[in-house]
Subunit: 344 residues, 4 copies
């Protein structure tokens, strides 16, 4: 069975396993205040030469989104997300559980635009205290549809946030995949200038676990560790998370992993187009979304492990995801299967 | 200046003022455990001969919605409301502040239907624990658009709730106005059978303040007073709320007030149609929503106090509300002004 | 049966009833943005000539404490209260319900002192982010034991708060009774300088309901009305609360009511001492706490309505409360009963 | 520098590292629904032959306490803990952050007793809805002081919980160390009968991370995974946690690790007594608490890494912790240093 189900289905890159083994018997300070976390923070700061940022590590994405948003917003403030945003859909109301409304706006290819944000803000200002105050914009990059924000789009979001006094937060669970996309024309350093806070995902790019939160806005830096602890997001053996990011950034694995995944996906998508499979959405990164018939689905699902994204009358939207771990020969085999299915 | 801004712009019916004056120096038990609250509860129970219900009084609508929903739902459960529902729009995220997601579905004339509820529920079940569990359906009757649920529609909602294991809650801030509507073919006693919990609004029907929560589902009766107290919803002089509902129910003022308001509104709406004003929505109760031009708006706004409901390019949706307190002669004057404006 | 159970057992002073009657049919703006609230705010501001304060009205004490504390604190911050403080005991965890820990410290005659605050703060700083950050000091004045903070004590609290960067909040449910106490040597204007936020209680001093929140610290003024609305603390007919405070402040009733209550209580306490009843705590205001035997309790409880404060083996601590509404002849009768009971 | 600072200062046992390496490239289902978690659950269930339990894995202790308590309690319910309990002290108000009061009662050698629970419950019932409803008892075993509950004490707690209708929850961050203590006369299977829910700590007993929640009360089993997800406690690579507990339970490492730690600590404690160091508390497990002078502290702190537990005028309470990883020769060296310090 070929595995194209997701990008977090295997362990981690060798470098991380090796560090874990090498330092296993060292005596290390707890709660993320150790030298490995310090080293990982330094490596990330090297990516952001132009700014003085704070970096914190959290074990997973939902806990990261929850901790950041709870930290930034006041009780009566809400966060704007598009209707496909992860916090608006598949985190079981974890933001609402902290007391904050997620204000859902229509997506454009999985992205938010300044137009819908402005309209939403103005609508809220009309009745003022009878609605929550929209104070933060949450975007994912790459998006849940595999699309990538362009430099122009991000600067546009930054401008509307500046104009309206909003915080801009970027969920970077698949940030590496966005950065390595052919359409991407910016760096982590650029992102740090545009976002008030963002994170660099490890879990979906070759680490066992871990997201690295980067806070650039000085207003929201203080006391973040109090929120980490209160939210159960401070690990006793916090150095485990530092190790993940040393493994990712020391030898540029963070970028290499994502490039590998993106290239394989791009190849699959090109082949899908060639074979005339409709695409649900043109992806820029490591997820592709073909539309298949029921018969094709049945043929493929016996040979390949993948996700169903959506079901329509007699068609299905399915997702193939590639990762740091996907092998070229598996991609070739997948394409063969698709070729055969295309004739069904 | 004529007043058609809302239905809570004056004090209260004489009967309530008189009771307040009569018992002002009596020594009364605190926190709603007095004989006046008991009497008010009895009067309400007389409206519901077929069921053994619990009744509690809360000072206002937002606090009532918040207290009920917080009491009923578990942390990971959400409440379904239509996108025009009061909890989804104009309560400043008060439900989310208790930790619960409001799942917004498209309205049909201000109402929820079993179709959209079923689709929403099924969608949530697909990813199961990755989304909140939709466990309660919140409806307003009369709706925020002045429309009224029919017996058939309510029984349909009850059936889908039974089928899917959901609680049905009715926001009755304007329940009297719904019950007195010509299209209404059910009673409070019927509603008690269809809803797990609902409330009988006082504030918008002639009381100084107060909503009477009626709990019919035995599962959610216990410990409600703990939540009342924790939410700041238990008044020291709780008898004040009992007095409101004695005043409303002792001489059928509750029904008379609403009938008066509904009839005046109905007359205004008929006249609007006659004068060929477009209606934004055909109302069944004490709010009417004509569409007017900018010029008409300017003419009217100098003579009448009313609300703007929505603004479109060169038209405005405005709202006239009548109440227990609206005078026939003011309605006649309003119609005269409308007649004049219709020629602009 | 004589009534000495509490100070919120009757309606309100005539002035308030009269205003309610006089303005009953006026058309008044909703949600506290009316001219009566404005007038009440002006009257309160006249008491605080030295500062520019914000004033808001909330229907009851628990809702007031909850709304203020939620507004001021960040998620990881806690509020210090003494173990007899109302928020620490009899508000059903309403502060915790907003996500904040109430840090309980031992009381000294119902009061907090700078010593215990300093020790608590230092202890918390030792483990830092592993404990909540103590950021606010909550005191009641008069206290739950009827005692009153002196000028010196309050300035001492202000100093420790300044030194440690803490907010000082005063629960003034019985502030009038404190101000009228013979031992009080300060004014509302002074309190406004010492507290970041406090409130002026109406419910226990002759109003039907209502507490007036006074915010003096400019940092915590913005967006308070958003929290009011979110917490269900914004009444549709908000002018009802304005009316209470016009009634209390227009003719100095606020002060006269409390003076009346304090003097009657003081007289009862003097007589208790003369009759050699032990006192649980020497009160400075309108509550007195004699210790009685079981026999005395039985005799009194057949003739007087009062509260049991504490039960010990064969003694009981009971509480007599006086109010704006207590009659001199009832006090005389109470003293007679006490005289007779003293011989049991 | 000798390391006796804590029991979570190194990586993990070899068995866990080996499994991680062995399965690194396998394709594994996400979110804890994989075969490794299933195998770990089976191994834990083998320890509890008499009951049908549910088992879930969570990455750390604070998140575990928070998730369990939030799952079990209703909004107005509180959890009883002793004043030294971890949730009452060093979790930054994480329980209050979920809306629940932690009711702190005085500890007896770090333990709760039925007497204080009964008194607390009765006190709360007196004012009923004016205080939170105490519904759960939280204990740690081993306690934060290294003491261990006896069979008799636990049965006593079970009885009071049955009598009063309370849930009993055991924080087992150091459960293995308790079970291996010479004074322990019960098994995990026994604990499962006495507790409604408890957890088996991995982090402090040789795993990289992870606590295994065991739910025995059928009432609180349903929908736990919804709360896991909402609280950010569901890891994408959830199998990582399964692997920890396979490593701990497959070859009885869970018991061997703790036995090793307990024996070394016991030896240190015996030697401390022999050398006439006062003990702050007699420990039964892997933490010992000698009292030392400032001079002794200075001498030791240059040679040994340990924690300061409490500071008094000229004495300090310090803590030595042993673990699965502590070497016998390090213990011998520590005793030598203590011998020398004892003469200062």
């Amino acid at each position: 069975m070929l595995f194209f189900r997701n990008d977090y289905g295997q362990g981690c890159i060798e470098d991380i396993l090796n560090i874990l083994k090498d330092i296993n018997y060292e005596n290390i300070t707890g709660y993320g205040q150790d030298e490995y976390c310090q080293k990982a923070i330094s490596l990330i700061k090297q990516q952001i030469p132009d700014l003085d940022v704070d970096v914190h590590f959290i074990v997973g994405g939902t806990l990261t989104n929850q901790t950041i948003i709870k930290h930034v917003l006041k009780p009566y403030e809400g966060v704007i997300a598009c209707d496909t945003g992860h916090i608006a859909t598949h985190e079981t109301g974890s933001i609402e559980a902290t007391g904050h409304k997620v204000i859902m706006l229509p997506n454009n290819n999985g992205k938010l635009t300044s137009d819908v944000i402005r309209k939403c803000f103005n609508d809220h200002m009309l009745t003022y205290e009878h609605m929550v105050y929209p104070k933060m914009v949450y975007i994912s990059n790459a998006t849940e549809f595999g699309t990538v924000y362009t430099r122009e789009e991000l600067m546009d979001l930054r401008h509307i946030c500046d104009e309206l006094g909003l915080y801009l937060m970027m969920d970077g669970a698949r940030l590496a995949q966005a950065l390595m996309s052919p359409i991407c024309d910016y760096t982590i350093n650029d992102l740090a200038k545009w976002c008030d806070v963002f994170y660099i995902g490890g879990t979906k790019n070759g680490a066992l676990m871990g997201e690295a939160v980067v806070i650039t806005n000085p207003e929201i830096k203080p006391f973040f560790r109090f929120n980490l602890k209160q939210n159960g997001a401070m690990m006793a053996k916090g150095w485990l998370l530092g190790v993940q990011f040393i493994g990712l950034f020391e030898n540029d694995n963070y970028f290499k992993n994502a490039k590998h995944a993106d290239e394989l996906s791009s190849h699959i998508q090109d082949e899908l187009v060639r074979m005339k499979y409709p695409l649900y959405m043109k992806s820029d990164t490591n997820q592709v979304f073909p539309v298949v018939s029921k018969k094709q689905y049945e043929y493929l699902s016996e040979r390949v492990d993948f996700e169903i994204w959506d079901q329509r009358e007699d068609m299905l939207v399915i997702r193939f995801a590639t990762s740091w771990c996907t092998k070229k020969e598996d991609v070739d085999q997948l394409i063969q299967y698709l070729e055969q299915a295309s004739e069904l």
